[in-house]
């Protein structure tokens, strides 16, 4: 029967194709992990802006001859992956977006001390208190507002005021973002547990929840909501994508010492299980060096460089004109306490 023959031909063709596919994939799959005979390769797990990370890796390889296998992903997924991998992790370096991801690894003794010279290239306030990871770049919490819906003059000096009934339905935030946790912890540390409970209760009653900062900043720009709590660079990235003529929003920084003025750090650490500790330390040293910090200061990630005296060339309010609250990285913890607060408030 014609039909049966066709099906059989199709099946055998398919089996051959699939087997060939398996072979090809297996071949290609093993290719990236084979080390070049010329030099050493380190593996970097990066939760950072991918294009910037690629530029940094290229600069590092050009400077040292050490090759880098770059593995990009969400910082939380990568941290969970390393927690599962434990001492068998193939990663040499973890380059995160926020301290909690690094602190979660430090608490499980999965990080090793960073070279003192590397730590000293960055102001001590931005490094791990135990010297287990180094701060590489920083971002500031800020309020993005739709310029048609409200004006700078109407905006308060404290993020605490944004939860009140006056802003009901006009303030958005993303509680499941790793960027929101440090702000919440800052409120708790600076104002006490009673204030943070009330603030969360007010947020629940009045504010709108967004899944992530990318969605939130776009919603403010489109006028869907008047204001939103984000990190500054989300607005710059959106502006770059839309162009100035379609940008209908602006950034407002909260007052000096306010929890909403928090400056948060992206850092990197070397895994305790790394078999390439020396090369991994060199990568960290490179990240805080002048060339790398210049890449960060000029890239599309729009973050603040922290080390080696590099000042950003992006149109950002300079880092020394920000007035963050006096909180150390240790004060911000590993994020578990802020998760508990969110769950108790019924927000998660």
């Amino acid at each position: 029967m014609m039909w049966t023959i066709r099906v059989r031909t199709m099946l055998s063709a398919w089996v051959v194709l699939a087997l060939a596919g398996l072979l090809v994939v297996a071949g290609c799959g093993s290719a990236p992990s084979t080390q070049g005979a010329a030099g050493q390769t380190i593996t970097v797990y990066s939760g950072q802006h991918e294009q910037t990370a690629q530029m940094l890796v290229a600069g590092f390889t050009a400077a040292t001859g050490i090759k880098v296998a770059l593995r990009s992903g969400g910082e939380a997924e990568l941290a969970n992956q390393i927690l599962q991998e434990g001492s068998a992790s193939p990663a040499d370096v973890f380059y995160a977006e926020n301290p909690p991801a690094l602190e979660a690894l430090r608490e499980k003794n999965l990080l090793s001390p960073v070279d003192a010279a590397t730590l000293s290239a960055v102001p001590a306030a931005y490094d791990s208190p135990q010297g287990q990871w180094v701060g590489v770049s920083a971002r500031s919490a800020a309020l993005v507002f739709n310029t048609a819906a409200t004006s700078e003059a109407q905006l308060p000096a404290s993020v605490l005021d944004m939860a009140g009934p006056a802003w009901k339905g006009k303030f958005g935030y993303a509680p499941t973002e790793t960027d929101f946790q440090p702000v919440l912890t800052a409120v708790a540390k600076l104002k006490g547990t009673d204030v943070v409970k009330q603030w969360l209760a007010d947020l629940k009653a009045n504010a709108k929840v967004y899944p992530d900062n990318e969605t939130l900043v776009a919603a403010v720009n489109s006028g869907e909501i008047a204001t939103g709590l984000i990190d500054h660079y989300y607005w710059y990235r959106l502006q770059r994508e839309l162009g100035p003529d379609k940008t209908a929003s602006a950034l407002h920084y909260f007052g000096p010492g306010d929890p909403g003025s928090l400056v948060d750090v992206s850092g990197a650490g070397v895994l305790a299980s790394s078999k390439n500790n020396a090369a991994a330390q060199k990568f960290l040293a490179y990240l805080v060096s002048k060339p790398a910090q210049t890449i960060i200061g000029t890239s599309d990630s729009y973050e603040y460089p922290l080390g080696s005296g590099v000042i950003t060339s992006q149109p950002l309010r300079p880092l020394d004109q920000l007035h963050p609250p006096a909180l150390s990285v240790a004060d911000l913890g590993d994020g578990r306490s802020s998760l508990a607060m969110l769950q108790q408030a019924g927000l998660l």
């Binding site: 029967m1 014609m2 039909w3 049966t4 066709r6 099906v7 199709m10 099946l11 398919w14 699939a18 087997l19 596919g21 398996l22 994939v25 297996a26 290609c28 799959g29 093993s30 990236p32 992990s33 991918e50 294009q51 296998a69 770059l70 593995r71 990009s72 992903g73 939380a76 997924e77 969970n80 927690l83 599962q84 991998e85 434990g86 068998a88 193939p90 909690p100 979660a104 499941t176 790793t178 946790q181 929840v209 899944p211 992530d212 990318e214 969605t215 776009a218 489109s222 990235r237 994508e241 599309d300 990630s301 590993d334 994020g335 578990r336 802020s338 998760l339 769950q343 019924g346 998660l348």
Partner: protein, 512 residues
Amino acid sequence: MTLIGRRVPLPLLGAGLVTAAVVALPAVFVLAEAGGVGWAQARTLLLRSTVVHLLGSTAALTGAVTALCIVVGVAAAWCTERTDLPGARTWRVLVVLPVAIPEFVSGYSWVSLTRAVYGFGGAVLISTLSLYPLVYLPVAAMLRGRDPTQDQVARSLGLGPGAVFRRVTLPQILPALLGGALIVGLHLLGEYGAFAIVRYPTFATEIFTEYNLGFDPGAAALLSVVLIVLCVALLGGETRLTGAARQARIGGGAARQVSPVRLGRLTVPVLAGFAGLATLALGVPIGSLGYWLIRGGSTTLPPASIWAAAGYTLTLGAAAAAAATLLALPVALLAVRHHGRLTVMLERSTYLARALPGVVVALALVFFALHYVPIVYQSAPLLILAYAVLFLPLALIALRATLTQIPPGLAEMGRSLGRLPITVLVRVTLPLLGPGLAAAAALVFLSTTTELTATLLLRPTGLQTLATQFWVYTSGLAYGAAAPYAALMVAVSALPTYLLTRRIDPLSASAT
């Protein structure tokens, strides 16, 4: 009912057990991790008002979307396979294509189009539009492989088209329909991305939060146990409904030209319905991609590596389709041909991983690979295995539905003529299973091309697929640069969809 049915060939039983063991890994991992959580933490985690609320919202969404997918999927399948719908071949491709559009793409397109999609209604709309092909494909394969003369006989005996559908067609497509509905329901339990975008929190959202904010695998695992319980409930429901429904016909195609049902005056409304479906499910996301391609500030010529990414997506998809279909085949044969309590339980157990969020399945494989076979860690074979575990149920429902239509007598006759079981399998069962195998492979391939979570965690370092590159750009808000990758994702899936709907068209074959 006996334990394992009649005369089970031991190699078949062995192969089925291997599949079940592999697919059970994530569930075993979840139970082991959850076991490490203390009672006090377990109580605070599970007895929260949020949890009750999320259970309700997850159940409401699952019920509504599954029901809608059945209506849309079955109606579309019947029209393209049984009526004189103009352009049926084109519609067959178009109605399947939405499966190739990642839910984070369709979710984002809808949100940028209208704010009305936030919340329950939007979540139902977007999920239905991307999931109904999971009902359409197995039902269409079933209708295609089924002898249409029964419909004609029923019609000649005076039944109207509605009655023919209800009394003849529906009972025969029921296994395919229920299988598809089951997959839709399980998918909804574990889905995260689309619901996060339209702000409809479900249980899976909560599990992601435990990982993302708490770095607490134990708590995430404990919440995943709840999903396993919900999954077992769905499986139990489907088992009861399916029962021992078995359909059989004699002969592999009965090579008879059957005149399709005439739509007549209904042609225009039905065509309008198909056009509307295609506009909502395909037009909106593709239109939004086009917009970003033209207007996005980051739009540049995509780098040459886009072709490499497309190549990896294709080969990974083909390999995953092969692996999942091969793993599913013994399970389907056991469940249908050797129907018994043990074989049914074995088949049911392979669905468990489908209800777990991708991140849970991926982390489970991270754990098992590193502890037992470290050499495969972050290699392509492990990633392919992950796809197979995640999407095996898709292959299974397609195979199971088709197998129930093949009379077991044919294979028994082969064996009575002295052929080895394996010869009978290759010469008799597999050719008859053609449409089912094709639908199985297509479903797995299409789902693999858009998979992101497991791909990010398990891919070989440095390997980029279209989905991972799309994610890289969108997470940097560079929608213009991301759009070509999503467009290629759809294009890569279009080709196999088209070929599959053509090659297994029994009408074109029986014309000779």
